[in-house]
């Protein structure tokens, strides 16, 4: 650190992020520093801090310093205990995060149970969920989505970072039941055709297998 002292812009970006009370976008940092381009400075700071007790992280396009996760046990204090999220709230939060934007009816379809208004209130009060407009269908239901604070709190760079998102998508587990059912039926139909086609070559296959095992 002492060997290579950072340039002025990097120092300015560093100071800005340190002093800020909340995560800053690149644009906000630029605005504070006379519209300077801070992209490289952020990248170099992120690298410089990677192995320190403090890290520079990007959460949904907003940057902030925070303590390194492996030091959690040293820093956690009694008063820091977060209010526990109820099971219902956790589930609703997950559904909103992985499906956003979703209406209450859609949340209820997945959970198979009515969601009390209080559950959504808790999530909105925590600042993790917001009303994201209305769906343009009959009844114009309100739809919900997650907030930048959600990403910050759960240490996600972006929504793509949600744990297991790619796998869930690939497995079709984020599609509505109706769609998933129809997909399954289609797959079955094509499989059936394939196996019909295979019937003709039934004789050939065992031979091939035998070859392989030899």
């Amino acid at each position: 650190m002492s060997e290579s002292s950072p340039d002025d812009l990097t120092r300015a970006v560093e100071a800005c992020l340190f002093a800020a009370e909340e995560p800053l976008t690149r644009e906000q940092i630029s605005a504070h520093l006379g519209e300077a381009d801070v992209k490289d400075a952020l990248a170099s700071l992120q690298e410089q801090y990677a192995k320190r007790g403090i890290n520079l992280v990007e959460r949904g396009k907003r940057w902030q310093f925070q303590t390194a996760p492996d030091l959690a046990h040293l820093l956690r204090r009694e008063k820091d205990q977060l209010r526990r999220l109820s099971r219902a709230a956790t589930e609703v939060l997950a559904i909103i995060a992985y499906h956003e934007p979703v209406s209450r009816a859609e949340i209820e379809a997945i959970r198979g149970v009515q969601t009390s208004g209080g559950t959504l209130d808790v999530l909105m009060e925590a600042g993790w969920v917001r009303v994201a407009g209305r769906r343009e269908v009959p009844g114009r239901p309100v739809i919900y989505a997650t907030t930048p604070e959600f990403l910050t709190h759960f240490g996600l760079d972006s929504r793509k970072d949600l744990p297991g998102l790619a796998e869930l998508k690939a497995a079709g587990l984020l599609d509505p039941v109706d769609d998933a059912y129809e997909d399954l039926m289609e797959q079955k139909a094509t499989k059936a055709e394939d196996s019909d086609a295979q019937d003709d070559s039934e004789v050939a296959e065992p031979l091939e297998n035998r070859d392989e095992s030899a």
């Binding site: 310093f65 939060l93 240490g155």
Partner: protein
């Protein structure tokens, strides 16, 4: 109430839900204490299920297989057995659990029927859809647990404790020009001046002069004449308005006196006047 499959202990259930990434903070609220008596435990658990689908998900997990390959028939049996036990213990069971039990019993009987007697949608389709729903809920349950187990701000990682804060000082540049200034002063002075009502002098045609004028003009011809032709030609527009009004009233008056007749071909159309020939 015999054995694990019918009487899942609350503690066991919790650890299954959370999976490997469990940390102490992510425990669900209000999980039953293990010291509770058997009936208490069951009761508390029923309180803790988030609806029938939740109970089904938990029973399905107990089959210890991929949610895609659970046996729906076995699941139906387990669910019904569970509800029956709760009923036997005279526990209050929410209606939706009973509705689900009835529906599952129907599904089971349909699944056992010979294929050709089946209705649409087929019980296989219903079973598959139920399985898909359980899998979706299971996926979200796991996703929630994994989310809560992440390095969370304020629990695992911390923001700066006492940031100085970034301030944007907004400096107002007030805008006002000379015209606005003197105009405002004028308005104030006007507002505060003693109010004097001046009745503006307006050019008008009185009814009497209109009657005189219209009857004189009617005397010239026996043909229908439009009312507007009675008006003074080069008058001030304000006088014209007044003349139109008084000439109209004059026409009505003359008609009343039997000296003129009035015709109007269309609503809002021009009014025509004609002298009534002396009998």
């Amino acid at each position: 109430m015999t054995g694990e499959s019918q009487h899942p202990a609350a503690g066991h259930r919790e650890s299954e839900d959370l999976g490997k990434e469990t940390s102490t903070d992510t425990a669900w609220e209000g999980v039953a204490a293990s010291s509770a008596s058997e009936s208490d435990a069951l009761y508390i658990e029923l309180e803790n299920w988030e609806g029938p689908l939740d109970l089904l998900l938990d029973l399905a997990r107990r089959q210890k297989v991929d949610l895609k390959s659970i046996s729906i028939l076995a699941l139906v049996d387990q669910y019904i057995a569970y509800i029956e036990q709760a009923e036997a213990l005279k526990l209050e069971i929410a209606a939706d659990y009973l509705v689900m039990a009835a529906w599952l019993a129907y599904l089971k009987s349909a699944l056992l029927l010979p294929k050709d007697e089946q209705e649409d949608p087929s019980p296989e389709e219903l079973a598959l859809r139920l399985q898909l729903r359980i899998a979706r809920l299971g996926a979200m349950r796991e996703a929630g647990a994994r989310l809560l187990a992440r390095d969370r701000l304020g629990r695992d990682v911390f923001a700066r404790g006492a940031p100085e804060g970034l301030r944007v000082l907004k400096r107002n540049q007030w805008q006002c020009n000379w015209y606005q200034l003197v105009h405002a002063y004028g308005q104030v002075k006007l507002r505060m001046e003693p109010v004097v009502h001046m009745v503006a002098e307006r050019p008008v045609m009185t009814l009497d002069s209109a009657i005189e004028r219209v009857s004189a003009m009617l005397g010239v011809s026996l043909d229908w004449m439009e009312l507007r032709t009675f008006l003074p030609v080069n008058a001030d527009p304000r006088l014209k308005k007044s003349a139109l009004a008084s000439s109209f009233v004059a026409a009505l008056e003359l008609a009343k006196r039997g000296k003129a007749e009035i015709r109007q071909d269309a609503i809002f159309g021009p009014l025509h006047l004609r002298r009534v020939k002396a009998a």
